[in-house]
Subunit: 425 residues, 2 copies
């Protein structure tokens, strides 16, 4: 079955699954090593996470992305997906435009890269247009400034599929696999929850809020409770580059899943998967990028909170919402659901939404810092604030995957195994 | 300003507010007394609650309502609004088709009734088509069978506006007044909550659920919390004929309002009004009728629960939803919001929705009977189930208006003052 992806174009799938064929295709190709980010993005391109792009972007696409938030063909696009390389490497590998090379990762063949263009691009332009700042304190800008001399643009074909390690294995689904899963579940409306967090009940209610909002004037079939739901929440965890102090990815994925396993979500309305992506913290532009990815996964709605994918004070609250609202529906075919914070209200005696509750002077907002410190102390919080089963899974993940800590440490950065590997073909 | 009502037709307003003009118009007209229900419905017609009908229905409209759930002109219509009269009364008052008469209530002039048609109609047909049963145990059918020999059809013009007594006075708004209020509040999306109940927190969350669902992909202005909301919940209490054991109307209206006053709803998203209407308990057909009334009030969404306006076991759960879904949007321009029950979940430690929570075996549904018995015992329930401020208002209303009881008693039926009176012109 052919699926439609972002921009109304066929979902990109550029994967050779037959090993013999793959080996034949790469025979005689020059080998060019890709670093972790390039390898991750090559995989993302090949599976269609970034449909309709079929490869690393060429100059005209980067130009249009910066200036108009579009690809050269007019498709909405917000973040450059580029392959950077130094002049020395180009010389060493003898790369010319028109060459096809074999990208390798960890020494093993990964993908065929049809290099159509070798170009340079002003990094400050990217910084200003994509991140809205030239300050290199911004992690996305810092990364941009670190790009090497040149960019290679051209199509990618995956020849060797990644092996995703435990506990991530069951959570990695390609866009096609996402769609097949949704068909199996009979979900029609599906709302994305983007996360890099271990959920407290404020997060849980944001998701429940988004589900209700996406559901809207829900058809009656849904109402006949004992029947199967026809709408769902997809918790799509972003797994990628980490910073010290972040929750470890294992804890994020497993705790999100635990919410359903422990019944805080009905079994038929909730599902957890992950997308490999290094956060750029591009705020509004990253919100658009996440919308594109989730469109490619087959989702109909995307939840956005107060400061989606922001960092520091670079973007004001709800700036992402304004940008998303400015894009016509026919250009970005996923409905944004804007949700307000949920907080604990001692007057109501429950967790409630600041858009609903009038006890503004009493509301106790969930503080990520406070919850982190509670977790550090290994004190089980009240179930109204933090689900006990989630707490247990965090502690377990810390032991099993975090070298004792649920948060990323220098130790974790040095020792944790990568989430995926590329094995010999 | 002219407003549009149900069926895309101008909102009906047939009211003479100038007393001198009114007196002149009724001079010399025969006086025909109306009972409470006829008077109530004449008022409803004149203010446009039942737009586009301009008077008591004629035979072709009743026929079309029964057979096709439409008026003779094709407008969706589900419940006959008729003026019944005995042959003896027709003879005594000397009424003929073509006459204009002055309807009186409590001895005072109420409205001019231009009698265009005197007709009879088979009551069993009405019973079967409107209520789906001929059993006179059904209160709507019983009332149908009690209609007198004939019906009078023709236009109504109110000449003497009702005086609504305390504590109802501030809650009675005409359709025009509703719309002016909404304009003042800048509400764009407004969801109706139909009620004849004192609210427990299950009801409160149904309303919050409906608000979120109606809000959907809410514009960003709403998100900037400290700004004014642009969506609202209109709690529209049905005030009319009561049965022993019902909550008294005073308690219903005042407690619903208390939820906002005590901050369980933000001040800018919630409002309570009332509509005079004798419940027919026509289930699905009554749901359509309520949708029509709320369209005329200027609402955009209408919440429906499991058994809207049903009685006994005459209608199956969600039958109203199926009927509503079968009506094309252009014929009934209000979006139904179907909500699932909210219940207390001891595992979650909070009130949650059976459409969201997976702890089905633990959920404790709100039992109206149990809550009534708690109220009878004057024991304050936990605030998670029943708001203490609401409890206090119930107790207060019982003393002030209920002759000691928050529930309708024979005593109340005999002694309570009518909600509105018609004074001498």
């Amino acid at each position: 079955m052919e699926y439609t992806g972002h921009g109304g174009k066929p979902l990109v799938e550029r994967v050779i699954t037959d090993k013999a064929e793959a080996k034949k295709k790469i025979q005689g190709l020059k080998q060019v090593p890709a670093n972790r980010q390039m390898a991750t993005e090559a995989i993302g391109i090949a599976y269609g996470f970034f449909s309709p792009i079929e490869g690393f972007m060429k100059k005209a696409d980067v130009e249009a992305t910066c200036k108009k938030m579009e690809l050269a063909d007019g498709t909405v696009w917000s973040i450059p997906i580029v392959f950077d390389i130094s002049d020395k490497e180009i010389a060493d590998y003898g790369i010319k435009a028109g060459d096809s090379v074999c990208l390798t990762y960890e020494g093993n063949p990964l993908a065929i890269f049809d290099i159509e263009e070798i170009y340079s691009f002003d990094k400050e332009t990217i910084a200003q247009d994509v991140y809205g700042t030239k300050e290199d304190k911004h992690p996305g800008v810092k990364r941009t400034y670190a790009y090497k001399d040149k960019f290679l643009g051209g199509k990618i074909t995956l020849v060797n599929e990644p092996k995703v390690r435990e506990p991530f294995t069951p959570y990695f689904l390609t866009p096609r696999q996402h769609r097949e899963k949704f068909k199996e579940k009979n979900w029609i409306k599906i709302v994305a929850h983007q996360t890099r967090n271990v959920p407290h009940s404020g997060h849980e209610w944001l998701m429940k809020h988004a589900y209700i909002a996406a559901h809207g004037d829900s058809p009656v079939e849904q109402m006949e409770t004992m029947g199967k739901a026809i709408s769902g929440i997809l918790v799509n965890c972003i797994v990628g580059e980490k910073r010290v102090g972040d929750y470890i990815d294992e804890a994020i994925v497993l705790t999100q899943d635990e919410l359903r396993k422990s019944g805080y979500f009905r079994d038929d309305i909730h599902m957890v998967t992950m997308t490999f992506w290094d956060m750029r913290y591009a705020g509004p532009r990253e919100a658009v990028h996440h919308s594109i990815i989730r469109t490619n996964l087959g989702l109909t709605h995307h939840m956005f909170g107060r400061d989606h994918a922001g960092v520091g004070t670079y973007y004001h609250s709800y700036q992402a919402h304004h940008l998303l609202m400015s894009i016509p529906k026919e250009k970005l075919n996923i409905t944004p659901i804007y949700v307000l914070e949920w907080a604990y209200c001692p007057h109501c005696g429950e967790v409630t939404c600041i858009g609903l509750c009038g006890h503004w002077n009493e509301l106790q907002k969930f503080s990520g810092t406070k919850i982190r410190s509670i977790i550090m102390d290994e004190v089980k919080p009240t179930r109204l604030i933090f689900r006990p089963e989630v707490f247990d899974v965090v502690m377990d993940a810390a032991k099993k995957y975090g070298f004792g800590s649920p948060f990323v440490t220098q130790d974790y950065l040095a020792k944790a195994k990568p989430a995926f590997t590329i094995e010999p073909l």
